[in-house]
């Protein structure tokens, strides 16, 4: 029976929470395909971490990659290739994270299989599982069927809910060493460049600006709009930060801040999965977008299909009448 393998994500602080989402995805697939699950921890060998996973009732391989110091895509691909060649998994579950995106596509090629990126949902079909992934800025999901085996499923963070842990008998841990002798990549360490500001964390209302703003000068309009709400701040989607319009500490999303204000108003933001990952903790989400098909509307409590400038002027007029 070919198992479903899960590649555990971890850093200096231990197991990263996304790992539990990967396990949740693996459980769905295991149910659909009647397979077992095996977790793999590529690293230095860490019995304590392995025990944490095995205590969830999941068989675990504690894979020590000898000669690897810190994450190294060459070492990951080399060692996982060796392990999976013998383990012969049906699916390999990896996070669609900075790390997963880096090693998984190449590993898929090396194994003679394939990889599906950004998976947010699994649909069961007579032919087997179909995997859903966003396309066209999230306006649609593409349902794809893997044609090559093994298939690496790169799971979108936040897409799979972690079930409460039920009691399980601790499973077996297998310790394994694989030597890595490549030499074209040399790690130089992790650097922390920016600490997120507190502005987004402390605000009750976030008015977020996206590319729909058009011009940098229009930020003033958003500042004025935000000032109508008590305890508010202007946040932004990534492209505005990339273009230098707004400082990084105001960026919302998977590579920015994850926010949970009382009210999030997205203005001219399309709703890419990377942006959504940062906003789903908000109490109330209101979106203003001129495109009725914008993906953000699927994740909003209130959808306002309008030109954001016209809407803001209208709102200002109403407020003047009801001070």
């Amino acid at each position: 029976m070919r198992p479903i393998a899960v590649v555990v994500e971890h850093d200096a602080g231990g197991i990263i929470p996304v790992t539990h989402e990967l396990l949740a995805c693996a459980r769905i697939l295991a149910d659909q395909t009647q397979s077992s699950i095996v977790a793999v921890i590529p690293g230095k060998g860490d019995p304590a971490m392995a025990k944490q996973i095995a205590d969830l009732g999941i068989e675990t391989v504690d894979l020590a990659i000898i000669g690897m110091d810190g994450y190294n895509s060459e070492a990951y691909k080399g060692a996982l290739f060796q392990l999976f060649t013998t383990l012969a998994p049906l699916y390999i579950i990896v996070g669609h994270t900075a790390t997963g995106r880096d090693f998984a596509p190449g590993l898929g090629v090396r194994l003679g299989g394939g990889s599906i990126a950004g998976v947010n949902h699994i649909v069961s079909d007579q032919t087997g599982p179909l995997f859903s992934r966003p396309v066209l800025n999230g306006v649609k999901n593409a349902l794809v069927r893997p044609d090559a085996s093994p298939c690496i499923i790169m799971v979108q963070p936040g897409a799979f809910r972690v079930q409460g842990t039920s009691f399980a008998c601790p499973a077996r841990v297998t310790a394994m060493d694989i030597r890595f002798t490549g030499g074209t990549i040399q790690p130089l360490g992790i650097k922390t460049v920016t600490t997120q500001g507190e502005d987004l964390d402390q605000a009750a209302v976030i008015v977020a600006a996206g590319r729909g703003l058009g011009e940098r000068e229009n930020l003033d309009i958003l500042e004025r709009f935000a000032a109508l709400f008590p305890n508010s701040v202007v946040g932004a989607s990534r492209p505005l930060v990339d273009d230098g319009w707004i400082e990084y500490r105001f960026q919302v999303g998977i590579t920015g801040a994850r926010v949970s204000p009382k009210l999030y108003i997205a203005c001219g933001i399309s709703g890419s999965s990377q942006h959504l990952a940062g906003i789903l903790g908000s109490e109330l989400i209101v979106s203003v977008n001129s495109d009725p098909n914008a993906a953000i509307f699927n994740h909003s409590d209130l959808c306002i299909v309008a030109d954001l400038f016209e809407f803001i002027s209208a709102f200002e007029r109403i407020l003047q009448r009801h001070p």
Binding site: E74, P105, S115, K140, N298, D301
Partner: protein
């Protein structure tokens, strides 16, 4: 320093009337041009080639790249019905550049339409190159055989590493400020020839697109009707009710 940049033409509007260079590829091309310039300043040779896979008409994106400063361009002409995944794109590009000795291959972090972010790392594997994805800073000493890069991680961290050339990087947005095509280069570009290659054998894909679906909703998604004033009133009322205003 011979650099290859993979660029894609994408629809900017849903109707397909406006087409543009994939926004993420502008950063890739800009980074390649900056590296070439650094080599030139050091008195070393450098050249930037671009390649695009796409149907007839996609060569417009190569012309834009010439306008920005690319030296040579290649258009791999695909069947407009072809709908392969990144595995197919990478396979076709690898085949087309076989035998060209590039020191560095650069791609964008993802395409706006397919959003896989896999063409780069698959291409690296097929070409036997070391690969780093999500690059937000590069530095290389002209003449040395190593590139140092910083990869963007979650939580504002950067993974720093050195790769022996030849290597492939996928570039994240924000790494630089892509230049606009210059008039003089655009004029010169008009005289440049684009190498055109027909796609012959399409490699087997690793996945099949079964169908497109509307995304699942995670919230109720109440759509406000009426005029823009009606919508503003409705939001105002709701926020008063909730005690936010």
């Amino acid at each position: 320093m011979k650099i290859l940049v993979c660029i894609k033409q994408v629809n900017e509007t849903p109707d397909g009337h406006t087409q543009a260079m994939n926004r993420f590829d502008e950063y890739a091309l800009e980074e390649a041009l900056c590296i070439k310039e650094r080599f030139k300043e050091a008195g070393l040779d450098g050249g930037v080639d671009v390649i695009t896979l796409g149907p007839e008409g996609a060569e417009t994106v190569v012309k834009r790249a010439f306008g920005m400063g690319a030296d040579n361009g290649c258009h791999l002409v695909s069947d407009p019905k072809q709908n392969g995944s990144s595995a197919v794109t990478a396979g076709l590009i690898a085949g087309a550049v076989k035998g060209c000795a590039y020191d560095l291959v650069v791609t964008g972090i993802m395409s706006q339409d397919r959003m896989e972010g896999q063409t780069g790392p698959i291409l690296a594997e097929l070409m036997g190159l070391a690969c780093a994805t999500g690059v937000v800073a590069t530095s290389l000493v002209p003449g040395a055989a190593v590139i140092e890069v910083e990869r963007e991680m979650e939580k504002g961290e950067r993974d720093c590493l050195a790769m022996t050339l030849p290597a492939l990087i996928t570039v994240q947005a924000g790494i630089n400020s892509p230049r606009y095509p210059s008039l003089s280069k655009v004029l010169k570009a008009a005289k440049k020839t684009i190498k055109t290659l027909a796609v012959e054998a399409v490699p087997a894909d690793t996945q099949t697109l079964v169908r497109l679906e509307a995304p699942l909703k995670s919230r109720s998604g109440r759509v406000l009707g009426g005029t823009v004033d009606d919508k503003a009133v409705a939001l105002f009322d709701l926020l008063r009710e909730r005690g936010i205003l």
